[in-house]
């Protein structure tokens, strides 16, 4: 590997490739196409060789399989990554701004003494200089950062790049773990999933989302009637779930589900970055919020600055009337 490559840490979720990985590959491909070098994906886990083929946007896919990598325990991952980065010497290492990426980025950066930039949305590579656009202050401000010392580790915000699922050479290399991996002081025991018995909002085509603007628990009924009239389901932003008005299985956002429905009708949702992360790739976003400055309007396709309590019943009625005609 030359010191010109772009490395991507592939992430798994429930034994499948997590969508963020394809976005990181999209970013890596864009960098490689502009500045040269290979896109190298690091695929770590318990059983991952079968998944390597899905990372066809990478030129090389290095898989490391080990039982210690089955669940996320930091030390085994750090150990493997450190070793990989010693043999492979990429210019840039891309991680997702996720529960795994955020943990590893600064730890790896500290161990190999590489600069780390978080909150990245755009990268430009020219020779040995990397220019990064980053978001901070809850998305309110942007920083343009110049990195002159490489390798650099960039933690990418979800939704910054389009997914790439092919376009690379797709060459798979299996790296065995020679020595047993150190377990470390923090060990993964098990994954705890929210209670089942509710619908899977990630599979719905139409979602009616409620936010703080719904104000009272009874008003969720309005959303449910609307959802029913549309043939969809109700989901919510974090504050609504925190109140206990809807179960966590309905939560959309950074700490909830990521959804990409055909239609996302946001009622009384302000559109904080954490929520946007969970739905910004929806095909059609319609936002109803009485505050004309709500950030949701930045990503919505259509919007109306009215009180959702006034609009929702009217919309429901019209939809029902349509069906009866």
């Amino acid at each position: 590997m030359s010191a010109r490559d772009i490395a991507v840490l592939a992430e798994l979720h429930q034994e499948k490739i997590a969508p963020i990985t394809y976005e990181l590959l999209g970013c890596a491909r864009a960098l490689a196409e502009a500045a040269g070098g290979d896109v190298v994906a690091f695929l770590l886990g318990g059983h991952v060789e079968a998944l390597a083929g899905q990372l066809a946007a990478a030129d090389r896919i290095i898989t490391v399989e080990d039982p210690a990598l089955a669940g996320f325990s930091p030390e085994p991952y750090l150990n493997v990554l450190e070793n990989l980065l010693q043999t492979e010497t990429p210019r840039v290492v891309l991680l997702g701004s996720t529960t795994i990426g955020l943990d590893l980025a600064s730890l790896v950066g500290a161990r190999i003494q590489a600069p780390v930039v978080t909150g990245c949305t755009r990268l430009q590579l020219a020779g040995e200089q990397l220019t990064v656009l980053s978001h901070l202050y809850a998305g309110k401000m942007c920083a343009e950062v110049e990195v002159t010392r490489l390798p650099a580790i960039c933690v990418m915000l979800p939704g910054s790049y389009r997914e790439r699922k092919e376009g690379g050479r797709g060459q798979v290399e299996v790296r065995p773990c020679e020595a047993p991996l150190p377990a470390g002081a923090v060990t993964f025991e098990k994954m705890i999933f929210p209670e089942a018995g509710d619908i899977d909002i990630t599979q719905q085509d139409i979602l009616v989302a409620v936010g703080r603007g719904i104000k009272q628990q009874e008003n969720i009924e309005l959303a449910e009637e609307l959802a029913e009239a549309l043939g969809g389901a109700v989901c919510a932003s974090r504050p609504v779930v925190d109140q206990g008005w809807l179960p966590t299985t309905r939560q959309v956002g950074k700490s909830g589900m990521t959804v990409k429905p055909k239609c996302y009708l946001a009622l009384g949702i302000s559109g904080a970055p954490e929520h946007q992360e969970g739905m910004k790739n929806s095909h059609l976003i319609v936002a109803i919020n009485s505050d004309p400055k709500a950030p949701i309007y930045d990503i919505a396709h259509y919007g109306a600055v009215v009180d959702l309590m006034d609009l929702a019943p009217v919309l429901t009625e019209k939809l029902k009337a349509r069906k009866n005609v």
Binding site: R111, H135, F188
Partner: protein, 256 residues
């Protein structure tokens, strides 16, 4: 259990922040400050652990922003020791500069567990919590949504995963945990208690060496992002808007 907590001050975002004269960072003169939300949760988690299992809680903070207010509130909440680190910098230190500053002070408290907020919205060059763990040579796990004691020398920590899932981690102490949220939301402390704390509480001071800024990385400029691609706003009465929405749904094939 001896728990040490790092409390950071961040600028309040309720009013737009002003950019400094060089355009490379914000101007702190104009800003109001408040405690970093995740550090507030870290403090709450520490207090909950103390209440459940005994021990002491030490809070460590930089003398920056409106830190006194936060520290008196912390004292009123039941923190046993409060250490302020003198700091004369004009802006908050970056994570790499802050880690060596905090590490010796925290090490001197001989903690079993160090709790820090997993992030702050001022962080750009990495995040402070893992750097602190590295400087302390302690293990680290972040995005923790609750900590429980688990027998001698261990705690259980719940790490957030997508889809409202959580990973149960077993953590051997001593360790550093990056807190996302405490098992319960941060408690409210009535003003009368804070006032009482102002009379009784005593802050210690301990210095640490400020770290070097990260080499090979510098902020060229800080700016307000342009708002692009705003939504098309539908006008009219609720009847009009509802009709337009239905039309859009029909056109986009959402409804047949």
């Amino acid at each position: 259990m001896k728990i040490s907590v790092v409390i950071r001050q961040v600028p309040d975002l309720i009013e737009p922040l002003t950019i400094n004269s060089t355009g490379t960072w914000i101007d702190y003169e104009e800003a109001m400050f408040l405690v970093n939300e995740y550090d507030d949760h870290a403090l709450e988690q520490a207090l909950l652990l103390k209440e459940a299992h005994g021990g002491t809680v030490t809070a460590v903070a930089l003398d920056f922003g409106d830190v006194e207010e936060t520290l008196y509130a912390a004292a009123a909440k039941g923190v046993d020791r409060i250490i302020k680190i003198p700091y004369t910098g004009e802006k908050s230190p970056s994570p790499l500069e802050a880690a060596p500053l905090f590490a010796p002070v925290i090490a001197s408290t001989s903690p079993d567990l160090v709790l820090v907020g997993v992030q702050s919205y001022e962080e750009l060059q990495g995040t402070f919590a893992p750097y602190l763990a590295h400087a302390l040579k302690l293990p680290y796990a972040g995005l923790i949504q609750g900590v429980e004691a688990a027998g001698e020398g261990f705690v259980r920590a719940y790490k957030e995963f997508p889809g409202a899932a959580k990973a149960l981690l077993r953590v051997q102490l001593p360790a550093v945990l990056g807190i996302l949220s405490a098992s319960k939301p941060p408690r409210y402390v009535p003003i009368s208690r804070v006032r009482a704390a102002m009379k009784e509480a005593h802050f210690e001071e301990q210095e640490g060496p400020l770290g070097e800024p990260a080499p090979g990385i510098h902020v060229k400029r800080l700016f307000y992002p342009e708002v692009s691609g705003r939504a098309e706003i539908l006008e009219g009465s609720e009847e009009d808007i509802a009709a337009k929405i239905i039309q859009i749904f029909e056109e986009k094939g959402v409804i047949s």
